[in-house]
């Protein structure tokens, strides 16, 4: 009792609490994207034909590759956690690196995909966009906003994982105290989860 009065609660640590906190944060992220999916569903219901035509502009191949890339990275980060739990630090570090690499591949892909659109004069506020039909315009607005926000989350997730990587390396995350890795992984899965819904809704419209 006595020593607790001197050392402040800052050192206090509760793994279950921080995991619950992460899940609650994930809920807010889901609802953040949920608002966009709501807007998407309303406009798609209003302009189904336009959405189909506009979606043909996207390459299903690039979308599918990116889906596989993200799914794979999701597995590797889950494996990194398993490795940490089994006290295999080396493997965990490697798997985090693979995850980061995959994230980079995803972003590069995205860069080329967006770049091609920009090259054709398709970007928010462009002259071409102003000439489009309403449904097409809404589709591309949503496309840029949703994939843009998702890409932003990828970047945030990468930063988190980089922090986690160094913490594993210097030993502040170890096999008895790994909730930071666990939370980083949860965040990464969330990014994957959102893409699972974005992919069919953006690329596969008939």
């Amino acid at each position: 009792m006595m020593s607790e009065k001197v050392t402040h609660i800052e050192e206090h640590r509760d793994d279950a609490a921080s995991k619950l906190g992460m899940w609650l944060f994930i809920f807010t992220e889901l609802l953040l994207f949920g608002g966009l999916f709501l807007v998407y569903s309303i406009y798609r219901a209003q302009y189904p034909a336009n959405f189909h035509e506009a979606s043909l502009e996207l390459s299903v191949t690039i979308g599918a590759v990116n889906t596989i890339v993200l799914l794979f990275s999701s597995m590797t980060i889950a494996m990194a956690l398993t490795a940490m739990q089994k006290n295999n630090k080396k493997l965990a570090l490697r798997l985090i690196l693979v995850t980061l690499l995959m994230a980079l591949v995803f972003l590069v892909n995205k860069y080329f995909e967006w770049g091609a659109k920009f090259h054709h004069g398709l970007y928010p506020g462009s002259d071409l966009m102003a000439l489009l039909e309403r449904g097409h315009l809404l589709y591309f607005s949503l496309y840029f906003f949703m994939t843009g926000l998702h890409a932003f989350h990828i970047i945030v997730g990468m930063i988190l994982l980089i922090v986690v990587y160094f913490k594993v390396k210097n030993g502040s995350i170890h096999f008895e105290k790994y909730f930071l890795l666990e939370n980083g992984a949860l965040y990464w899965h969330l990014v994957d989860l959102i893409w699972i819904f974005l992919f069919p809704l953006m690329y596969l419209i008939t």
Binding site: D14, L38, K177, L193
Partner: protein, 94 residues
């Protein structure tokens, strides 16, 4: 610490989940290449839902979490579905 009791998912299981997810990805691409009219969205969302289920339960370890958390996650999706549904009460009858 509470971590000691938490579940460890084997590499093999994770690998298998990835295969399942990839299978469904190809499935959704091939299914939506046929024109099933209004069913396409339903099928695409259904498959995405199944994929989401696997990510949530195995990658995110939800299957091994306590009941409360599992219920909460379910409630989030129910809440979102209700909000979408109610908004459509407006848009479908305008």
């Amino acid at each position: 610490m509470s971590n000691n009791s938490s579940h460890i998912t084997e590499y093999k299981v994770l690998g298998r989940i990835l295969l399942i997810l990839m299978f469904f990805t190809f499935a959704t691409i091939s299914v939506t290449s046929f024109n099933l009219a209004s069913f396409t969205v339903t099928v695409a969302l259904l498959i995405a839902g199944i994929k989401g289920y696997f990510v949530l339960s195995y990658f995110m370890h939800l299957k091994y979490e306590n009941l409360l958390l599992r219920i909460l996650v379910g409630m989030i999706f129910v809440l979102f579905a209700l909000i979408v549904l109610i908004t459509f009460i407006d848009y479908s009858y305008r």
